[in-house]
């Protein structure tokens, strides 16, 4: 009797795992080995690896994601440090986080206006005597908008790791005669590294895949892995190739997580 009741509890969740976690993953891998007429083929991978266009696109996408990650990290780290020193830090953190609750597309849309040829940013540049520039439909505009959107996702984990850093350690370093710079490089930075890594994960992977920003801001100038997947699935209807790029994105995800995630083991050993 009880066993049956338990089964009733188990079924919906396990069904979800099978249908919406395992099946889609298997299907996208399976689809990547299919050609347009539904036969098994290695051709998608062959044409991906053999095509300079695809490889160049991948390299550019990775490069863009790297730049976005570095830009957000450089801006976020000092922000997190400052936040941590403020008396009402939770409130200020909330202010930094709040924009993430606003629809991503609306924030992106704002930049269409800001970056327009006659838009506010160009007015400002002219005011500075720098002259108007073509801002929309460039790599730079994509990098700026993506960094803007992902900034809070970098600040938060760094802030968390800094907030959990015991102040006694910093005092100890000072007592032992460390300069402020030494305290930073020897104590604060190594201990906040887990937050930095989490932030890199939270920024790098989406930067590879956010297709709506490239579409709205960079037109067809910038093609990320995500844009390529969207294009193959919804425009050219070549699902096999789209899935192949999807598998590449999955691999990229694993590589990033592998490079930034070795802290897991240490956590396991924590007492």
């Amino acid at each position: 009797m009880m066993k049956k009741q338990q089964a009733f509890f188990f079924v919906p969740y396990l069904l979800w795992i099978v249908l919406f976690v395992i099946a889609p993953l298997v299907l996208i891998i399976y689809q990547s080995f299919q050609n347009l007429s539904g036969h098994f083929t290695w051709a998608n991978y062959a044409s991906y690896l053999g095509s300079a266009t695809y490889l160049k696109m991948t390299a550019e996408s990775v490069w863009c994601a790297l730049v976005i990650t570095v830009v957000t990290l450089v801006i976020s780290y000092p922000t997190a440090v400052v936040l941590n020193r403020l008396p009402n830090k939770q409130f200020w953190l909330l202010l930094v986080i709040l924009p993430t609750w606003i629809n991503l597309l609306l924030k992106t849309y704002a930049f269409i206006g800001l970056f327009a040829h006659n838009g506010s940013v160009n007015h400002f540049l002219e005011f500075l005597g720098l002259g108007a520039h073509q801002l929309l439909f460039t790599d730079t505009s994509f990098i700026i908008v993506a960094s803007y959107i992902e900034l809070p996702f970098m600040v938060l984990p760094i802030f968390n790791s800094l907030a959990s850093l015991p102040s006694s350690l910093i005092n100890a370093a000072a007592d032992l005669g460390a300069s402020r710079w030494q305290t930073f490089t020897r104590v604060i930075w190594p201990l906040s590294l887990s937050g930095v890594k989490a932030g890199i994960q939270a920024v790098f992977i989406p930067s590879l895949s956010l297709f709506m920003i490239t579409r709205l801001i960079a037109g067809n100038r910038v093609i990320t892995l995500g844009t390529a997947i969207e294009e193959h699935f919804l425009t050219t209807q070549n699902w096999g190739m789209g899935s192949t790029i999807g598998v590449i994105l999955i691999l990229a995800m694993f590589i990033v997580m592998g490079l930034t995630g070795e802290k897991k083991k240490q956590q396991g050993g924590r007492h």
């Binding site: 969740y13 795992i17 020193r85 953190l93 991503l104 206006g113 999807g246």
Partner: protein, 274 residues
């Protein structure tokens, strides 16, 4: 002396970051009150775009669709996710539990594009027509893991002796679940429901893949209108969305402080970027 100086510099820096973070949002709101047609030159103060928005029946229908999807999907995801947390808790072996948890988190870490593409293949394979049902199923699917992650800590906090005590005192498994376990989970369930709700409201990429032609949600509509260029009706909409988001954040903090996580640092809307 030196310390105070950096403090001052730090505050200016933080202010600058905050200005950058809020500038685009207030820029949108500012131009929503302009009588003009572009975000280049402010005409005079006018509510004309709000009037257009209020009479845009297509937009109103889309808002209703979005709300129905969000309410339904988060409700169903909360039920399944809560059951999921119970399942994970019930598994005895650590390794099996780890496997379940990893599977649970797959959709949390996957980029939206992949979730959308793979769900599209899935729905096509099982022969489901794209539209309301496929969007609803997708939203339920990607909301379940966050509910599990919000409920599970509450279950882990609960002392195992409580369930034993209930059993000793003659409670049936059902009574023990509804009278002991469920109340302990409730704060987590509420926060989970709330997160699922906002995930659904905000989702664009997954919906974009599985929505087909007939059915549209707010995010998809904003995208297709923004692709056509500037339209100050979207600005008016963003003011409304901004105010609603503020209300939601307030609601989240109310719920999570009741859930006893006051000191816990906040959750970001992961769904936003991934």
């Amino acid at each position: 002396m030196k310390k105070q100086h950096t403090g001052w510099l730090g505050k200016v820096y933080l202010a600058l970051v905050l200005v950058i973070l809020y500038l685009p949002i207030f820029y949108l709101v500012y131009y929503s009150f302009s009588s003009g047609k572009t975000m280049e030159k402010f005409g005079h103060f006018s509510l004309v775009h709000y009037r257009v928005l209020a009479t845009d029946t297509r937009m109103i229908q889309i808002v209703i669709n979005t709300a129905i999807i969000a309410l339904l999907s988060s409700l169903i995801a909360t039920v399944i996710g809560t059951l999921g947390a119970l399942v994970i808790k019930r598994v005895r072996f650590r390794q099996q539990r780890q496997v379940l948890l990893s599977l649970n988190n797959v959709l949390m870490v996957s980029p939206d594009v992949l979730i959308g593409a793979s769900f599209l293949i899935f729905f096509t394979v099982i022969g489901l027509r794209l539209g309301f049902v496929s969007v609803l199923l997708s939203h339920i699917a990607f909301s379940i893991p966050i509910v599990v992650l919000m409920v599970l800590p509450k279950l882990n906090e609960m002392s195992p002796t409580l369930a034993d005590a209930a059993a000793d005192l003659g409670a049936t498994p059902w009574q023990s679940l509804s009278r002991v376990t469920l109340p302990a989970m409730t704060p987590g369930i509420l926060v989970g429901y709330f997160m699922a709700f906002t995930y659904s409201l905000d989702d664009f990429a997954v919906t974009f893949f599985v929505t087909g032609n007939g059915f549209t949600t707010l995010s998809v509509e904003i995208y297709s209108r923004a692709r056509q260029g500037i339209n100050l009706e979207i600005n008016a909409l963003s003011t409304v969305v901004f105010l609603l988001s503020l209300a939601l954040v307030a609601g989240y903090y109310f719920l999570s402080s009741r859930a006893g996580r006051r000191n816990r640092v906040m959750t970001v809307k992961e769904g936003d970027v991934q």
